[in-house]
Symmetry: C2
Subunit: 205 residues, 2 copies
């Protein structure tokens, strides 16, 4: 059975989003059809308004400022010499919610296992290097960051991504670090996997 054109368009549009398959897209489209015309319109307007969101030219997080930097990068209380490299925006939000990090970020995306960055990732890495290398008088770091923290997931892929980027960024920083590993707060020792428990022993404090 052929779906009417307006539904097919929405199904196509939704099913190219991550983790939404064609069947779920069809269910979502029918759900929307059964909503009020006002609700459908509101969702369309809200999605359209996403076009107004800008990307920070230093850390690549989102913002709505007049200039090209996000709230974190323009905040003088955030140490620009300490940079955490992370995969995605939602990781930044989670990290900000801890209130523990006073440096800045750089969102680099998911580093491919091959170690060959995509073009947009190369541009972001190059932009970060230029910022570190630029003279302090020009708003850069004068050659070296104080610390670069690799904030990738604590998985073997995350470790690989870290090692790939350490090669690129190691010479540009006084110190390299990773997020700490150990027992998650609220967890139980009995149910911790060997890797996690081993890390907790190694990094006891």
């Amino acid at each position: 059975m052929k779906l009417p054109e307006p539904i097919k368009n929405v199904v196509d549009g939704l099913s190219r989003l991550p983790s939404i398959g064609p069947r779920q897209a069809i269910r979502l489209a029918f759900y929307l059809i059964n909503e009020s015309k006002e609700d459908i319109h509101a969702l369309a307007v809200n999605i359209n308004n996403l076009r107004r969101i800008k990307i920070c030219e230093r850390c690549f997080f989102i913002h709505q400022n007049k200039d090209n930097l996000c709230d974190i990068c323009v905040n003088p209380a955030r140490r620009k010499e300490t940079i955490m490299i992370i995969e995605k925006e939602t990781d930044l939000i989670s990290l900000e919610n801890t209130g523990k990090f006073t440096g800045r970020y750089c969102i680099i995306g998911s580093v491919p296992k091959t170690g060959i960055l995509e073009d947009w990732q190369k541009l972001r890495l190059q932009s970060l290097k230029s910022f570190i290398e630029k003279g302090i008088d020009d708003g850069g770091l004068g050659g070296k960051a104080d610390e670069i923290i690799f904030g990738f997931n604590p998985t073997s892929l995350g470790d690989l991504q870290t090692s790939i980027l350490v090669k690129e960024l190691g010479p540009l920083t006084k110190k390299v670090s990773r997020l700490g590993r150990g027992l998650p707060t609220g967890g139980e020792i009995e149910f911790a996997d060997d890797e996690t428990l081993g890390s907790a022993v190694d990094r006891r404090s």
Copy 2:
């Protein structure tokens, strides 16, 4: 960390859709932000166009016809005296894709376990009853349908939904039936559950 208003609006709008939680809604919103402005706009326009979709006043499936009936209900080749009661639009699409059913449908939604229909479901049931009871000269069925098929899922909930509606619709039809149960084509007897295999023995043909 507070999300900017345009993102928050989209996250709110997406997370009220079925099977999309707040976390997935945030991931989807960030994914969209990183798409081109044209793609964002196209999705917004397509969603907005869903407002043009109409609901058939007889079977409650979608359509885009000038009149108030869908393609199936206006098709003279479809027997209007045979009515399949189904839960949702996607079930109708799956059934139509088999090409095996030559009657018409009535989409009633998911019947609550309590047996107490929601208001919109009561309206749909009443509309179906009126159609059956209306005289043949007035476009109705003159008091009785030839057959009402209950096309709910083959689960205990589906059986309950069927029994609830049989009470309402049984007096208005010459015959009541359900979709056949047995081994799914391509399945293996060894792995069939007891209920399914039992049905296959009971309903051998």
